[in-house]
Subunit: 272 residues, 3 copies
Amino acid sequence: MSDKPVQELPDHIAATTFAEFREAKPLVHCLTNEVVQTFTANVLLALGASPAMVVDESEATQFAAIAGAVLINIGTLYPARGEAMLAAITSATRAGKPWVLDPVAVGALDYRTAFARGLLSLKPAAIRGNASEIMALAGRDARGRGVDSADESLAALPAARDLAQQTGAVVAVTGAVDYVTDGTRDYAVSGGHPLMTRVVGTGCALSAVVAAFCASSSGPKGDRLAAVATACRTMARAGEHAVAASEGPGSFVPAFLDALYRMSATNGADGG
Amino acid sequence: MSDKPVQELPDHIAATTFAEFREAKPLVHCLTNEVVQTFTANVLLALGASPAMVVDESEATQFAAIAGAVLINIGTLYPARGEAMLAAITSATRAGKPWVLDPVAVGALDYRTAFARGLLSLKPAAIRGNASEIMALAGRDARGRGVDSADESLAALPAARDLAQQTGAVVAVTGAVDYVTDGTRDYAVSGGHPLMTRVVGTGCALSAVVAAFCASSSGPKGDRLAAVATACRTMARAGEHAVAASEGPGSFVPAFLDALYRMSATNGADGG
Amino acid sequence: MSDKPVQELPDHIAATTFAEFREAKPLVHCLTNEVVQTFTANVLLALGASPAMVVDESEATQFAAIAGAVLINIGTLYPARGEAMLAAITSATRAGKPWVLDPVAVGALDYRTAFARGLLSLKPAAIRGNASEIMALAGRDARGRGVDSADESLAALPAARDLAQQTGAVVAVTGAVDYVTDGTRDYAVSGGHPLMTRVVGTGCALSAVVAAFCASSSGPKGDRLAAVATACRTMARAGEHAVAASEGPGSFVPAFLDALYRMSATNGADGG
């Protein structure tokens, strides 16, 4: 574990990165799990990005080259969908487009664990998971179901750095505090709210937003570390606004999408 | 392009058509994309219709003959689902039931474009798409991602008329203004709101509502052109009410379903 | 039909059962239909349970043994998903974990009817359906689409008792009044609201909650009849609170999830 505290993502970097994202309005090809597709699409739309869920293997090949980025989420993986994911990754890579991995429940289930580890050599631009997922993907022991405590995501930061160095990906370990690393530099993103863990898909949708920010920062001057951290911060800020405006996990969802929409319409990663 | 302005759907026709629909409470067999199934079902339920998503090929055959209409939406097409769609269309046709095509992203992706074109000879009762989808399906060049402007849907009206004449379908090109044609007569439906494009599934759910209205107008005296136009108008009016009652795309969704529910409970296509 | 009125689930039993459920925070493996996955997950999360939708056949085998209970809902059954369901049931049974059947539309469609009947010998812990589904599963004639009237669920109670005796399952026939039976003892659960039939997935989500309550009552002292009835009552009470706080089926959904969340945070099956 590091000896000095991890630097919080600076405001001015978040602001610049969000402005670039708003301008780019990226098109994100989402190969994600069955449970979160609607919410993921609505999160991207609220932010002004364009989601597209294209799932047939041949179409995934064709579309991944057109999209700004590809999201791979293995929450409800099965063989045919896995083939489409591999096709999309191959095509995105050939076209120079970034792809992002959300390794849902890696470490707990064998088939997806092998699948996700096999993807690491295909150079994801970013990986977003909770502490136990990132530790499992890095080949370390994770202990049980994550409690999403601040300590836990910090405890996984060394594994995240290793994973970043091994794969070239920016790695985000999310929890009560998110830690984002490229293996050398780290940012912390604090904020969000525990209520977000009582709504399905907040983490999965964050991974889609990470993909969208990777798309808009994929130019030669792009800072992918800042992009991934700004994605985390955008969702955390919207979550805080939404919790303040809601009475539970049900009313959280519309309030959260409204908050993202206001951010996209006005003042970016701190708006609401 | 036509020289004189297209006639707006008259109020009294919308009112009569909506009243027939309310009375019929049609059962709609939806073979639609993975992203919009929940919203589509809730839109139909809010309006008093009954959705059923039956997806196995043998069951699709059995159920399409029982349902009042079948919706075919190719947004997340893959081969097994495509087979179920063909089985449902064949069965519906044999039973004299209408089926409706939503050609999502036709023209942009090869597999679905070939699939959708192959369906045209199977006599859809209606086709609902945006300008670029309708132009692509009619075999004309569409230019890039649609901007959903009024001009764009009007520019696609000649293609829609051709498509209607070729296939026998009523064709709806939706956008800031919707144009509905049977190849000879046209209606315009104005209204709606751009916020609806920031919510996933509003177009897809409209296609399901089109199918529901085709079911309730499928008798010998039924006017399918009026039915499709009234479906468009119902969704546009509910959208306007919902935008007035909401603060963004998140709160739009519950407000929209509530508005549809009030319409179904009270005064029809103009209610709210 | 029984001669004396069915006893309403007593308050103190509901309170004790809900308290055990809250403590247990069960993990529920849901193999459910495509239309209701998000809502089902959000219902379980709002109540403090953990949903997991693991769908690959090999992973379903592995995960069903880890989860507290398995839900099998056949609303969008197709062969590959059916194989995963069988694998999950086999694995859960071997591990001594309960599994629950939601026989959506059984009786109306042949493939699922044969599939669901084949499952009955695999000893479901509970079965939850409407009157026509329970009657069809018990091998009796059901008449058409259910109207969900109180009389109808009461009329299906004898079939439910037979089914319970044949299979060893606790059987819940839900409608305007729910009847829950183990073949010998019965409980009635009144409450809920007809608006709940205008929102997709309320019945399917109830079946997931039944599975969660079966998990938390699966010890040697557990009373499965009370568990299933308390699940029904929890959803009915949350539904009443949500209807009072909403203006239609759209605003019902967030209000319903908020009501479940308040119950889980405070005073259980009567809270709100």
